[in-house]
């Protein structure tokens, strides 16, 4: 089929432009209809080599200038080569562009919902970290207080002078290194201790009540506790030394269980957040199917698409994580203020007796910061993997 020359369209530009360049309306009579593999090889990409888009785009721009008459036919401003520099100046003002928008649309209903989910999960995780921190600190305080105090108990026995035994125990104990004060509890103190069970007006001489010697330890590392125990039990009749190790070990076990439970809850919260992110990412990829499709046909690699989504979800995760972390910190501060304000009330005192001052320590706040970043990184990694898996299915 021989090429024919189409008639000049009625909306063609002024005839004065036509001689400057070959008219595209006349082009088919020369160019169309036959393949010309060897024509203008300098414009083609060599076989088997990747195209250089920048160079090619530059050529396109040159060609665009050459096609000025074509632009004029479309009632467009005619690009002129000498004006290029002037145009660059104009671009600084007239063609001012906004910063490139992210390829994955930042705002969507699914995105806002996921930000809220991540914020709630982060809040719960931060609360867990804060609670674990409070319990851990309290357990440390309990252990330290107990290790710094030892009690000698002297049981009454027939034919034994209790006061002599007490004095003997005090003397022996004071000789040991690391010991601070050694104080035998007075009759009045002993009566006060027994008063809740045996009532007032108690006569200690008529009852076989053991007597206590309270020993404070200045330097636990210097004190030979085993040696002291042996000497006391050997040289003081009816005496035994209680270093509170049973109570300490029980407290340590309880604190360990609470901390382990806290980490378990933290792991569950993070796991459920990961699952939420996986589902949300799949939904996001599905709702941005057109974006993925366009990226595919403009030649984007799967890694590029996954990175775009990952960047989107990293920002989303950081936003949600920071929101949850800040809200948790506000709760910690409010709780601390509340416990200080209610100091002296029965319930508050009970709480303080058990946990000390209810306040999250610096490691607790550092843990909150760690959780925020962990949440953001987990969100980004999870979304990246989910997107890659989705893309593999699309391919």
């Amino acid at each position: 089929m021989a090429p024919k020359t189409p008639t000049r369209p009625p909306d063609a530009g002024p005839a004065a432009d036509a001689p400057a360049n070959p008219s595209p309306a006349r082009a088919p009579s020369v160019e169309l209809g036959t393949a010309r593999p060897g024509t203008r090889p300098e414009k083609r990409t060599p076989k088997g080599k990747a195209a250089d888009p920048v160079t090619k785009t530059g050529k396109m721009a040159d060609a665009a200038r050459a096609a000025g008459d074509f632009a004029s036919r479309m009632s467009l401003p005619k690009p002129r080569l000498p004006q290029r520099l002037k145009r660059k100046d104009q671009q600084a003002g007239g063609d001012r562009l906004r910063p490139s928008a992210p390829i994955v649309p930042p705002q969507s209903v699914a995105g806002r919902a996921l930000t809220l989910v991540v914020a709630i999960m982060s809040y719960l995780a931060c609360l867990t970290v804060g609670s674990v921190s409070v319990v851990w600190d309290a357990a440390q305080d309990w252990s330290n207080d107990l290790v710094r105090e030892v009690t000698i108990q002297i049981r009454p026995a027939d034919g034994v002078d209790m006061l002599l035994q007490i004095e003997n125990a005090v003397t022996i104990t004071q000789r040991f290194a690391g010991v601070g004060t050694v104080r035998a509890m007075s009759d009045e103190e002993t009566k006060a201790l027994l008063q809740p069970w045996l009532g007032s007006g108690l006569d200690l001489d008529t009852l076989p009540v053991p007597r206590l010697v309270q020993v404070t330890v200045d330097d636990p590392s210097a004190l030979d506790l085993a040696g002291l125990k042996q000497r006391i039990e050997q040289d003081v009749k009816g005496a035994s030394l209680d270093d509170h190790s049973v109570w300490t070990s029980r407290l340590a076990a309880m604190a360990g269980a609470v901390v382990a439970g806290g980490f378990g809850i933290l792991a569950l919260v993070l796991f459920s957040m990961v699952l939420s992110v996986v589902f949300a990412t799949r939904a996001a990829v599905a709702s941005n199917r057109d974006v993925v499709s366009v990226l595919h046909f403009v030649g984007a690699e799967d890694g590029f698409i996954a990175r775009e989504f990952q960047r989107h979800f990293l920002v989303l995760g950081l936003r949600g994580g920071i929101a949850g972390g800040v809200f948790a910190c506000i709760c910690f501060l409010l709780l601390e203020m509340f416990t200080r304000q209610t100091a002296g009330l029965a319930g508050s005192d009970q709480m303080s007796a058990l946990f000390g001052p209810v306040a999250v320590s610096t490691p607790g706040y550092l843990g909150v910061i760690g959780v925020v970043f962990l949440v953001a990184v987990l969100t980004a990694l999870t979304s990246g993997l989910a997107v890659k898996s989705q893309l593999a299915r699309i391919d």
């Binding site: 369209p9 309306a25 396109m60 721009a61 467009l76 906004r98 390829i103 366009v294 984007a300």
Partner: protein
């Protein structure tokens, strides 16, 4: 450049959409792909764009046997093919400028490198004044020209246009056709899939006619 030999295509266990399709697309050639609706034009375009693999037959794309091309190599080959879809497929949250610059962003180019070229191309296709506008505000013709500019920004070896005049009025269809002719003059092979007879009558070029899954080529 592209060579199809006895290519057949079916979706799943359905009937064959394309049967024994054989043709070449040479460098700097211009051809129409036509046929009635449902004849398989879009499927053939998708095969040309490597988004489908044939059920049988051989396809050579840029001297590579498609059967030996793995998924990791596809993006690089796709960058040598520009596609203009009937529904434009512009991203609504990106401006016209950003949509056209998208293929260069995908290539990892810095904006300073391509800004002037993108602006110049937009001016060439008559969208110089509309570069800051989001696609929902553009008219059908402007969207079509933006889609064409996006397909051309990396200067592909082959331009595939699926019903490029399907959503525009006849005068604009003529303008777009002249744009394709000019692109072909500048060195790009062009395949226009259309069933618009008036468009075919305006230019005498190679015609590939699909009917009942079979392709007839009229040079």
């Amino acid at each position: 450049m592209i060579r199809f030999e006895n290519v057949g295509l079916r979706y799943g266990m359905g009937p064959e959409i394309l049967r024994d399709v054989t043709f070449n697309i040479e460098r700097q050639s211009f051809q129409f792909l036509t046929g009635p609706s449902g004849a398989g034009k879009t499927s053939l375009i998708r095969l040309l764009f490597m988004s489908l693999r044939p059920t049988r037959g051989l396809i050579h794309v840029f001297n590579r046997d498609m059967a030996t091309i793995n998924n990791k190599e596809l993006p690089e080959l796709r960058r040598r093919v520009g596609v203009v879809f009937q529904d434009f497929r512009l991203l609504d949250h990106l401006t016209t400028y950003e949509n056209v610059a998208l293929p260069l962003r995908v290539l990892g180019k810095e904006e300073a490198e391509y800004r002037s070229d993108v602006i110049e191309l937009l001016k060439w296709v008559g969208l110089g004044e509309r570069m800051h506008v989001l696609p929902p505000v553009l008219s059908g013709g402007e969207k079509q020209r933006a889609a064409i500019a996006r397909a051309l920004i990396t200067r592909p070896d082959l331009l595939l246009a699926d019903e490029p005049t399907g959503n525009v009025d006849p005068p604009l269809a003529r303008r777009l056709l002249r744009l394709f002719i000019e692109l072909n003059r500048l060195g790009t092979s062009v395949v226009i899939a259309t069933h618009d007879i008036t468009l075919l009558e305006q230019v005498e070029a190679r015609r590939m006619v699909l009917a009942d899954g079979r392709l007839s080529v009229f040079d």
